[in-house]
Amino acid sequence: MEEIWNGFVKAIQLIVTLDPEVMEITGRSLAIAAASCLLATAICIPLGSLIHFNRFAGKRALINVIQTMYSVPTVVIGLLVFLLFSRAGPLGYMELLFTPTVMVIGQAVLIAPIVAGLTITALSGVDKAVPETATALGADRFQVALLTMREARFAMLTAIVMGFGRAISEVGLALMVGGNIRGYTRVLTTAIALETSKGDIELSIALGIILIAVALIINIALNRLQQRK
């Protein structure tokens, strides 16, 4: 119990004194998660919408696959990305392994199914009356799609925030493809893993509290946004 309490005290100290290393790691965590979230959003919102607005054979199965991928283990994606970007791998010539860039790519791959899948769910949740009325009033397919997306934008925002949450909280992939290099690819989760393995429990707890605080702030912001609706 004392250990946990000391962790709290240390966390407050580290945050209040703006400890440069902690700030740097937190900033990097946010930056990498945000970049991967943007990348996944840019690709998966249009992709999810395409899947939703089109009828094709195997649509249901495809959606099932996407939803199954929500819970794909981070280390599996980590291993895949590692093998692809290792110098001995097919994308090795890009020399990206153990850089923040490859962490962004890996996390984007990791959260892509979540963003795409929840986008589809969001669009499915829109009242059928909306597209029907629009069609009756003479809107073409593209206009109907845009209108539906507009109606679903808050639910789609949830998709993005869920993706962000998974990206910032995962450790397996960050460790495997980033390598937890001090001052370069070390993020909150990998730092926690390292400090715990070094037996530095207090610092681990402190970093964990910062991570939770970040998640909390983002969720509060999202909730307020949705309540305005």
Partner: protein, 296 residues
């Protein structure tokens, strides 16, 4: 209003991404954030990292050679694998047999020794298996009985794990049988520090390099049980990855050589020999560059 909120959220994301480039620039001392160049990568065994030795040497090397050093810590097995794949430029490990194989297969240029210490068999202070000060091989024979206490193995193909396997072999056991011998044999699958913490929690025995054990001693309820025997020798070497086998590391070949000269230089050898005295009251490593391989 609502649209504004969404725009706000996205601008926040974009701002954060812009911050990434700033962080990247300040830490990488330049604009090479996207590329692996101008950075030398060393993969090191966890014991040289967990003891803080690399954290201590890293800024000295970076300043001296004006290069950004990336230190990746992993068990010797993974470190050698990184080397084989050309993902790192130089490795520092402690697993003689596999190092020699690594060089013989052409993946490494040469194996250069730079420090050594000893492995220790550590366990609970009351020594439930009664193996205090025995010969390491005899101690393992008693541990294999398994009734007195558990044994925590690294189980991760690290140099320490290789040493443990060698010990079981010289004690006359088949490692595969020991692995499945019962619940007393625990494969942790973690680094040295975590394994020691686990052994302490479970009040079991384990084998550890001296450096990591001393560095973690304050957090452990474990004591040294066996520390004598030539089989416990633990030699660290540095191996530059061979650019002929991996043309991509050629870019950093000179810097990898610099790393070898750095670790074997008189100045750094002295720092390695003194490392730990201030914090732990005793040196963690014995420098041995340029000397014949220690045998006992």
């Amino acid at each position: 209003m609502r649209n504004k909120a969404i725009i706000c959220f996205f601008s926040l994301l974009v701002t954060i991404v812009l911050l990434l480039s700033i962080f990247g620039c300040t830490t990488a001392q330049g604009n090479e954030i996207l590329s692996a160049r101008e950075r030398l990568r060393v993969a090191t065994t966890t014991s040289l990292y967990d003891t803080g030795l690399w954290g201590y040497l890293e800024p000295i090397f970076e300043k001296k050679y004006n290069v950004e050093l990336d230190v990746l810590y992993a068990g010797s097995g993974i470190a050698l694998e990184y080397g084989k794949r050309g993902d790192v430029d130089v490795i520092t490990v402690h697993d003689k047999a596999r190092e020699q194989q690594f060089v013989a297969e052409g993946y490494g240029i040469e194996r250069v020794l730079f420090a050594y210490n000893y492995f220790l068999i550590v366990g609970p202070a009351n020594d439930p298996a009664g193996i205090k000060s025995m010969k390491p091989e005899d101690a393992f024979k008693k541990l294999a009985d398994g009734s007195a206490a558990s044994f925590i193995s690294r189980g991760d193909e690290s140099g320490t794990h290789a040493k443990e396997k060698a010990l079981w072999k010289s004690a006359g056991f088949d490692y595969e049988k020991i692995r499945k011998a019962g619940s007393w044999y625990i494969e942790g699958g973690k680094g040295m520090g975590s394994t020691l913490l686990m052994a302490s929690e479970k009040q079991g025995y384990t084998i550890s390099d001296m450096g990591t054990f001393l560095a973690f001693k304050g957090k452990l309820n474990l004591v040294t049980i066996v520390d004598r025997g030539s089989i416990l020798l633990n030699v660290y070497s540095v191996i530059p990855v061979n650019p002929e086998k991996n043309p991509k590391v050629a870019l950093n070949a000179q810097k990898a050589k610099d790393m070898v000269s750095f670790l074997t230089s008189a100045e750094i050898q002295k720092l390695i020999g003194d490392y730990g005295i201030k914090t732990y009251g005793t040196p963690l490593f014995i420098p041995c560059a340029g000397k014949p391989e220690p045998t006992e």
